[in-house]
Amino acid sequence: MNGKSEITEKYLGLYKDNINKISGISSAFINSFRAPAFEKFSELGIPTKKNEAYKYTNLNIFFDHDYENYFMPVPSDFIKAEEFRCDVTDLDAHGIVLLNGFYPTLNEKLRQLPSGVWIGSLNEAAVRFADIFEKHFGKYAKSETDGLIHLNTAMASDGVFVYIPEGVTLSKPVQVVNLVQSDEDMFNQHRNLIIAEKNSVFSIIICDHTLSPQKFLTNAVTEVFVGENAHFDIIRVQNEHNNACKITNTFIHQEKNSVTSSNNITLHGGLIRNSTYHHLGGEGAESYSYGLFLADKWQHIDNFVNMDHAFPNCTSNQLFKGVLDDMSTGAFNGRILVRPDAQGTLAYQKNNNILLTDDAKMDTKPQLEIFADDVKCSHGATIGQLDDDALFYLQSRGIDKREARLMLMFGFAHEVIQNIKIEPLRERMDNLVMQRLKGELSRCASCMVKCG
């Protein structure tokens, strides 16, 4: 291509205009990453459909827009964030609220939980826990093809930091509520870093909500380090309005014998792209990646998974499902890479999709790249409709067609939901999915915006 696209130029300009402001509030260590990342971003640009990983997702609708605001916080913003309460009543969790990617508390920017666990602002942690921070920050989020990751590294200034010391089991999950609110169309980016040391057990729930009807674009990167024998779960619940675009990139690095699971539940959102990179970086590691999306109207949901088996005797399993209604479109791109010498690998992948209307469209691209011989790998993908036989079976037992369809769709979705280990959340998700399928949830739960 000759030169950079106009859209990319726009973000190059944004960087130049804001870099001083951004650097001003971050630590020197974070700032040291910005220039090289920006360099890389200028080279790669905003991914287009020519990029194999974005073949089925057109980002231009959201990137080719003049956002009036690149969010930088002022103290008064934070008061609004205080008002938000999660409506999953019996969910007992350590809560954190992020507003437009910033940790919106003026005082206590880092909180200590029992047994030496720290949660709080990324910016603050970069200073207070410089040693740990510098060991992990920027080590896992790497990409040779995706410019957005570098754009995030170049510009993001805050986000969530979680540190679980060696041997600690945190019985309650940490819940991060990501709020997006602004009076103007806004582009924002945040960066999370989660460090779960050796033998620790920890789970995190990330909920994405939009609070105002403006056009939003969020580009987030999360880096996770999971130490030897540690157990880590990440659950993402996305519930945003149709005018919001959310791009999440999660990089999970695993050490020996660690176990992780990732679960992306997308209930609502204009354009959602979830990329999850699992790096099985030690022998005997296990990784599970799940995803479910329900799309309607003009929504577009894209799930991208990269399962990198770098060491022998690791196990991975992927299960992604989608239900597409109206004119919605969906994409799935799952890759299993088994590197040379990663013998004894077991890797499975399943992707099932249901199209409910003639105008819905699904593209799926499962991939296997295998360079070792003693492996068992498989993938399966289907795109279809509800099973007529199953429908008939239910109807012949006196269940009316609408109810029968709902039951089947619910069962289809539940296969993903059941992997959520936190019971109140699982029940809540089942509930939301049911409502969504019934058409009662045409807008996001707990949202004041009437965007539907």
Binding site: E52, Y56, P340, D341, Q343, N353, L355, L356, T357, D358, A360, K361, M362, D363, T364, K365, P366, Q367, L368, E369, I370, F371, A372, D373, D374, V375, K376, C377, S378, H379, G380, A381, T382, I383, G384, Q385
Partner: protein, 482 residues
């Protein structure tokens, strides 16, 4: 036990290439290199009409604007198009009326390859079109077929004798702008086979083309055009070999198939170009564009391929399912051994209603071989009730080889059912143990398992080919199973 297995595996996969000899046939070659002048020379040599020369020039000019694609999962040494001879033909090609007219060297070559050029002597009942380097040298059973109205001849003869048919169908399935290698072929193609089955005719024998690269430094660019008119049926076979040489030779062919209403075409390939030596030196670059168009209702095109040769294979026999109720099938076994690389698969484009496609791909990798399946199943908006089933299995025989799958499923219609499954594994020790227990040696057990693995595809081949394919599979894997 493990050691033994490895040894046997390595014995089984180090077999030699049988067809590596070179025949000293008097050849008519043009100087190497590619230019508009060369395109004109080729056309002039073949005494082609004006429209064909225009087609070539149009293609050549378009080719100049193109770049070699890099998306395939292949490592390809740069190709210098100025070092290739684009036209080489056995000399003295008079109108051949009987077998005695053929150059004895040439006849010997085909005898050695086991290809029956002498109709009276063989019983197999296969009509053969033999293509050496660039030119079709002999087509057997022409007369018998002609009685039924079947046209089976070299592409050049077809241009002379049936220009209307050629004009109408050439480039209709693979346009000259299609891709880098198809465009190159459109500019410099030398010969190939042409086949037309008239309405309501069921071709009584297998038609076959045998391709042989002989001269050094030449590229082979043949073009096959197969038209099955309404209610007709034909089964077509294709085989290929080349001498062992240290340099890489380029083979860029086009196969176009048109199936009209209720017609059925079965196209089978046993590809055994020289794969290069054990260090990966030499071998044929096999970059082929094959595509069939199910034009009419209820038409059917079935591709079967056994790919054991070539240093690099880059080939996606595809079906455009345009007619309602049409069917496309793709059965493939691809073997990569030593340093061979293959990126092969298919494209099934569902356009008509109630169209069906089946894909069965079996990859076998040994040595340092890299084997990729790349396939696209596309269901367009109006293709209601489209049905696809794909299955891609890979078998790994050794720890230095790779097996990859890149399926693309694009579905734009809610009534479509598209399924894809893929597995990768090595031969299980328990499977071998089971055979050992029953008195079958490890070597035989491996042969048994590999053959069983590929059976589903081999069964689709016509009888004579199936036997050959099975043997070929064994030779290709000799010394690599463990």
């Amino acid at each position: 036990m493990e050691k033994d297995q490895d040894k046997i595996l390595s014995d089984v996969t180090t077999g030699e290439y049988k067809y590596g000899f070179y025949s000293d046939i008097e050849m008519d070659r043009i100087p190497k290199g590619l230019s508009e002048e060369v395109v004109r020379i080729i056309s002039a040599k073949k005494k082609e009409p004006e429209w064909l020369l225009d087609f070539r020039l149009k293609s050549y000019r378009h080719w100049l604007t193109m770049k070699m694609p890099t998306w395939a999962n292949l490592k390809i040494a740069p190709i210098n198009y100025q070092e290739i001879i684009f036209y080489a033909a056995p000399k003295e090609r008079k109108n051949l009326n009987n077998v005695d007219d053929i150059d004895p060297e040439l006849k010997k070559t085909f005898d050695k390859l086991g290809i029956p050029l002498e109709e009276q002597k063989h019983l197999a009942g296969v009509a053969v079109d033999a293509v050496i380097d660039s030119v079709s040298v002999k087509t057997t059973f022409k007369e018998t077929l002609a009685e039924m109205g079947i046209i089976f001849c070299s592409f050049s003869d077809a241009v002379k004798e049936y220009p209307d048919l050629v004009k109408r169908y050439m480039g209709s399935v693979v346009p000259y702008t299609d891709n880098f290698f198809a465009t190159l072929n459109s500019a410099v193609f030398s010969d190939g086979s042409f086949c037309y089955i008239p309405k309501g005719v069921r071709c009584p024998m297998e038609l076959s083309t045998y391709f042989r690269i002989n001269s050094a430094n030449t590229g082979q660019f043949e073009r096959t055009l197969l038209i099955a008119d309404e209610e007709s049926y034909v089964s077509y076979l294709e085989g290929c070999t080349a001498p062992s040489r240290d340099e890489n030779q380029l083979h860029a062919a086009i196969v176009e198939i048109v199936a009209e209403k209720n017609a059925e075409v079965k196209y089978s390939t046993v590809q055994n170009w020289y794969p290069g030596d054990k260090e990966g030196k030499g071998g044929v670059f096999n970059f082929v564009t094959k595509r069939g168009m199910c034009k009419g209702e209820n038409s059917k095109i079935s591709w079967t391929q056994i790919e054991t040769g070539s240093a690099i294979t880059w080939k996606y026999p595809s079906c455009i399912l345009r007619g309602d109720n049409s069917t496309g099938e793709f059965y493939s076994v691809a073997v990569t051994n030593n340093y061979q690389q293959a990126d092969t698969g298919t494209k099934m484009t569902h356009i008509g209603k109630n169209t069906k496609s089946t894909i069965v791909s079996k990859g076998i990798s040994a040595g340092h071989g890299q084997n990729s399946y790349r396939g696209l199943v596309k269901v367009l908006k109006n293709a209601s009730n489209a049905r696809n089933y794909s299955q891609c299995d890979s078998l790994l025989l050794g720890d230095k080889c790779g097996a990859h799958t890149f399926p693309y499923l694009e579905v734009d219609n809610q009534t479509a059912i598209v399924e894809h499954e893929a597995t990768t594994s090595k031969i299980g020790e328990d499977q071998i143990f089971y055979c050992n227990q029953r008195g079958i040696s490890t070597e035989d057990a491996i042969g048994l398992i590999v053959n069983g693995y590929a059976r589903e595809v081999i069964n689709k081949l016509p009888m004579e080919f199936a036997v050959e394919a099975q043997k070929l599979l064994q030779i290709s894997l000799e010394g690599s199973v463990g």
